[in-house]
């Protein structure tokens, strides 16, 4: 409750200082529109459905690509941690590709898939898959061997040990890797949407891009605010519950 008040108060303060800066007329309103103008753009974009549509298109791409990354990243990470051969092949590949900034995938994706949803998905997956894989691999390697030993004396073997012991034991690492992967996925998708026009759907990146083309600063700032909001919401909805659970169980809570 008190934290909520602080957050709201801070937001009000930010908007107020934004308004004041506008009134001082240091920059032309074309370069820095006032909060009301941005608010009006957002209201109008919500009314005519463009914003809702763009958000839907973007989050759909993001969620599908991201969950595919988790679906492949976690098991592959388990694999590289378990088998030396996978570590020397796939593991090295992942390390290499992870250092590649995800924007660099866009030209390749375009040549392979053309201006299609496939290209978007590919960029999102390449952006997040490797960091999820590496975090999982890392997590598994830091699991104290005594857990598996204790489990084996209770009759746990191979697959059961992996699912019921190794995987949950490395959960703190996997979740932080998933969070990092989410960040990469989000960034690479925005880059791709700004860079490429896809006819099957206009995402938030496209709105941002056209805002620039039209010199509509209210649109640029408005869409940026929406992107920030989605980032915050995703953090609260996707990761907060997991992190709370981990902090409670492992006793690593900050407060």
């Amino acid at each position: 409750m008190k934290r909520g008040l602080v957050v709201c108060g801070f937001a009000v303060l930010m908007i107020a200082s934004w308004e004041i800066v506008c009134r001082l007329k240091i920059w032309s309103p074309v370069l820095l529109p006032n909060p009301l103008a941005v608010g009006e753009y957002l209201a109008q974009a919500i009314r005519d459905g463009t914003l809702w549509q763009a958000t839907l298109v973007t989050t759909k791409r993001l969620l599908i690509g991201y969950f595919l990354s988790i679906l492949f990243g976690v098991p592959l990470g388990l694999l590289t941690a378990r088998f030396k051969f996978a570590e020397d092949t796939l593991g090295v590949l992942a390390l290499g590709l992870q250092t590649l900034p995800s924007v660099c995938w866009i030209p390749l994706a375009l040549l392979w898939y053309g201006q299609t949803e496939g290209a978007m998905l590919f960029v999102v997956i390449m952006g997040s898959l490797w960091s999820i894989l590496i975090a999982t691999d890392n997590g598994v390697r830091t699991v104290p061997p005594i857990y598996a030993r204790a489990a084996s004396t209770m009759g746990s073997k191979n697959f059961h040990t992996w699912i019921k012991v190794i995987l949950p034991a490395s959960l703190p690492f996997i979740v932080s890797g998933m969070k990092q992967g989410w960040g990469f996925a989000w960034r690479s998708l925005m880059a791709a949407e700004i860079y490429v026009t896809i006819l099957t759907g206009f995402g938030l990146g496209h709105l941002l891009h056209y805002g620039r083309e039209l010199n509509a600063m209210d649109q640029v700032i408005g869409v940026m605010l929406v992107i920030i909001t989605i980032g915050l919401l995703a953090d609260k909805i996707l990761f907060s519950p997991w992190e709370k659970f981990l902090h409670r169980r492992w006793g690593t809570a900050r407060n």
Binding site: S152, M154, A169, R249, W250
Partner: protein
Amino acid sequence: MTIEQELANVTPEKLTVEHVSKWFRTRRATVHALDDVSLTVREGEFVCLVGPSGCGKSTLLNIIAGLESPDAGRVLADGKPVTGPGRERMVMFQESALFPWLDVLDNVMFGLKLKPQLKNQERREVAEFYLKLVGLEKFATANIHELSGGMKQRVALARALAPNPRVLLMDEPFAALDAMTREQLYGDIQQIWAKRRKTIIFVTHNVREAACLGDRVVLFSPNPGRIQEQFTVDLPRPRDINSVELAKHSTEIMRALKRHLRPEISEVAE
């Protein structure tokens, strides 16, 4: 099954260690951890392995548990060679090795969930029974990090007991605890041993602890790890670690320990 019925259809030799040797090869050197160790443990016996650290006690315990394999010799449990870990021989480690992602009750249920013949309700009842036995029934839903060191070891004990193993292998389970908590646990473990008639092998480097708990104390010496001497402790139970009779036994074992550690010195002295 009652305890008496369970005891009726087993051989008196619960565990037999036959000429077990073990070497550890590391990059720097080869450590001769165990050298021709033989030991027989009867059903229901409480045996303590005592010796300075590095004399192979943990190695022997792990071999008996089936977590490691000997380079020579073999271990028989109920007359059958041990080839891997099994629920019949449950291990308790120095660190509790409890799973932090599960709450207390789920930790105790972990081994029970691997018994497909049990119903979930039965598993829960068994787990609650053993939590009660170690006095932690109120902490069923607690997280592991919320427990003190002594409570953690109690939960680990409940987890080891829950699948109802005949043999309990304990590797310095109380070494990291303070003296007061330890004394309480000496009482608890003797009570549980008396009630449930387990066969217990208990590793420690604390001679007094060994004399307090064991029917028999097996003295190890290092480099290479060997059994030097065995002592029978026939004091009535429950034993108090601070009693005078116990002190006599532990002094005798302590003397032997010193003699085996520095034979050259004691030869001069005697």
